[in-house]
């Protein structure tokens, strides 16, 4: 075990996956010599050379499209889209192709690729650098979407994503890149895709989340605890396919569910989770399922981001309202 931050954990996972499988390659803007703008691919160029760690031309759609071809052609591409705000440029490939090729070819072709991208706000980044576009991807059939909140899961999920036979979108919460630290096993391991993590046990209300917002939920749970309220926190880790068993287990246990996330609420992944809980656990619920997301407006420039993305205070308030329903 070594104490790593999230950047180091993803880096170690990539390195170990590349060491054990020669088909694994990393491509994207500035991922080579520069080691990525967040340094996630630091040292990989030196270790594995320019054929396996590729500084691509500046063309996001091209990066994803060629990754589809590389994956179908027998490689295991891990492509990086430098910022979440540049991800929409790739949606033609993501929505129309990567998740459909297995089915369209009647199982003859597969696309075992990973698309990595930073996720979320609160690092005082410029415009279009703080987005939470997961709903567009989770809505798309045929792909898997994961988003770790701890270094341990970050490493286990990147290895699992690379080994997965289908395309996986891997979101890295920027706010946690250096802030999240934890003990990470030195050996390669997989964190299973599709399995949530119970981050804190409780009995009165379930706070369900992913990415950086998990930490705001834990903070909210501490505040609620001082008021004598016992909150359970579920870290989804995988957004598609959802761990429905874990979601229903916590919702049924506490009878109150709140889903916190960084994206605008309307049409969000929180809305989908809320619908699932309502459809499958209605009679176990003591209150309506609550979504706590950003406002339904575009991400503002960073001076106002703390008023846009929910903080622990907004989660606490929503939890109190749910408890007093």
């Amino acid at each position: 075990m070594s104490e790593l931050n999230l950047v180091q954990a993803v880096n170690q996972g990539l390195r170990q996956a590349m060491e054990s499988d020669k088909r694994v390659m990393v491509l994207g803007e500035d991922v080579g010599i520069n080691g990525g703008v967040f340094r996630v691919t630091e040292g990989l160029f030196k270790r594995f050379g320019p054929d396996r760690v590729v500084d691509t031309p500046l063309a996001e759609l091209g990066i994803v499209g060629t990754s589809v071809g590389l994956a179908m052609g027998g490689m295991r591409p891990v492509c990086e889209i430098q910022f979440d705000g540049f991800l929409p440029a790739t949606l033609d490939q993501v929505i129309c192709h990567i998740g459909r090729i297995r089915n369209r070819s009647r199982g003859k072709y597969t696309v075992p690729m990973v698309l990595r991208s930073p996720h979320g706000g609160l690092i005082h980044a410029p415009e279009h650098h703080s987005e939470s576009p997961e709903a567009y991807l989770c809505h798309t059939p045929g792909i898997k979407v994961v988003c770790p909140s701890t270094p341990q899961d970050a490493k286990g999920l990147i290895i699992a994503a690379i080994n997965d036979p289908d395309p996986v979108v891997y979101f890295e919460p920027k706010a946690l890149y250096r802030a999240a630290k934890g003990e990470v096993p030195d050996q390669p391991y997989e964190t299973p895709i599709g399995k949530a993590r119970l981050a804190r046990e409780g009995t009165d209300i379930s706070l369900i989340s992913w990415g950086a917002m998990v930490h705001s939920c834990l903070k909210a749970a501490n505040i609620l605890n001082e008021e004598g309220i016992s909150a359970e926190v579920l870290d989804l880790r995988t957004l598609t396919p959802l761990d429905i068993a874990a979601i229903l287990a916590t919702a049924e246990k506490t009878g109150r569910a709140l889903i916190a996330h960084e994206a605008p609420n309307t049409g969000s992944w929180a809305a989908e989770i809320s619908a699932l809980i309502s459809e499958r656990a209605l009679l176990k619920l003591q209150a309506p399922v609550r979504r706590v997301g950003s406002w339904d407006i575009r991400m503002p420039l960073f001076r106002l981001e703390k008023y846009y993305i929910p903080d622990a205070g907004r989660i606490v308030k929503a939890a109190q309202e749910t408890l007093s329903f």
Binding site: L58, A59, A125, W295, D296, L304, Y307
Partner: protein, 375 residues
């Protein structure tokens, strides 16, 4: 049938000022002395501003900031060839272009401090907002030019684009439309040789970026982008052609990003100091100053006066920027729709309530008035 040549394209390059500041007399440049001095002053002001902005960022008084250091000629000169009614469509590295269009520097600072109030163009200007995702503004510029053409206006559009952005599909699509509809649009490629850490030669196998134009039936020209006179001449001609309905142009201004990509970058990780030093010798400001001195339009005394005055002006802009204070968080909800729908009315009320509750709790928050239109 033997192979036959069915099309030939050649790419030309325009240079007027040598590194010593001597102008090639064979290319007459139609520019007045006052215009020349205006260009020079603005280039110097921009450089001094850049230096101050970097310091502000290092002191935590500004967010991530992209310098234009070294690109002053290709930034400042093109807008001076336009009318306010022409569209100016910048990239994210566009403070110089905005400044040349008359936007006060305080607003550039405000924008890079993460404040939406920084988007503030002079009244009557057709300026596009900073384009942060690269290349997405290029088809928009074609559309802006298209609208002007359809409305039979004589206005045109000039879009900046980096060398990296020419790799994007957007560039291909923009040039396809511009060429096909013979739109009055100019694509000014600021080839500063580095797309963050990726050098120009790794961006495309094409020898030049200017020659890409010919594949779309568009006029293309490479220009010494550190030569203010050449940029002026090339953009001026392209503007004239566009206004006459003779179609679009691609101008590759070859320049160099002397600074880091932004304050969040460390260029020493991926490029050599020797390369940077070599480009410093082609500095656009030094070259123009030598030229002006050779024409007796400038001297050391003028230079020192300009520096003093510029520093005072920049300080005043910084003071004005810092006196803006925090924006009202409710500004977020203004101007999202012509008429706000129910859920935004509801959510804005929630935020207002939240702000009031927090104010009474712990935040001694005195909020300025809300700006913008709502509902």
């Amino acid at each position: 049938m033997p192979l036959s040549t069915i099309s030939e394209s050649k790419t030309q390059r325009l240079e007027i000022l040598g590194p010593d500041g001597k102008a090639d007399p064979s290319i007459p440049v139609d520019i007045s002395e006052s215009e020349l001095l205006d260009i020079y002053r603005k280039m110097v002001e921009m450089r001094l501003f850049d230096e101050r902005a970097i310091k502000l960022q290092r002191q935590g008084r500004l967010g991530t900031y992209p310098q234009i250091l070294g690109q002053e000629a290709s930034q400042i000169v093109p807008p001076l060839c336009l009318k306010p009614s022409d569209w100016m469509v910048p990239t994210y590295r566009g403070q110089g272009a905005y400044y040349a269009r008359g936007m006060q520097l305080r607003y550039s600072l405000l924008y890079w401090a993460g404040d939406d109030r920084g988007v503030h163009f002079p009244e009557g200007n057709k300026d596009m907002i900073f384009s942060i995702p690269v290349g997405t503004h290029l088809t928009q510029a074609a559309g802006l030019a298209w609208a002007a053409k359809l409305k039979k206006e004589d206005s045109i559009a000039l879009a900046y684009v980096g060398d990296g952005s020419t790799s994007k599909g957007d560039f291909h699509e923009a040039l396809t439309f511009a060429g096909q509809f013979r739109l009055p649009v100019i694509y000014l490629i600021e080839n500063n040789h580095w797309a963050i850490s990726v050098p120009r030669k790794k961006q495309s196998a094409s020898t030049t970026l200017a020659e890409k134009a010919s594949g779309y039936g568009i006029f293309g020209l490479q220009v010494d982008g550190n030569d203010a006179l050449a940029v002026y001449q090339a953009v001026g001609s392209a503007v004239a052609r566009a206004r006459l309905g003779l179609g679009p142009s691609v101008l590759e201004c070859e320049t160099y990003r002397l600074g880091h990509h932004t304050t969040a970058d460390d260029a020493t990780r991926y490029r050599s100091a020797q390369e940077v030093e070599a480009w410093k010798k082609k500095d656009p400001i030094t070259r123009l100053r030598k030229y002006l001195e050779s024409r007796k339009l400038w001297n050391a005394q003028e230079e020192s006066k300009l520096k003093t005055e510029s520093e005072a002006m920049i300080q005043a802009e910084i003071d004005a920027y810092e006196s803006f204070g925090a924006p009202n968080p409710l500004n977020m909800f203004s101007d999202n729709y012509a008429s706000a729908p129910w859920h935004l009315i509801e959510q804005r009320a929630q935020l207002e309530k939240l702000l009031k509750a927090r104010k009474s709790q712990h935040e001694a928050l005195e909020l300025p008035p809300v700006e913008g239109r709502f509902p």
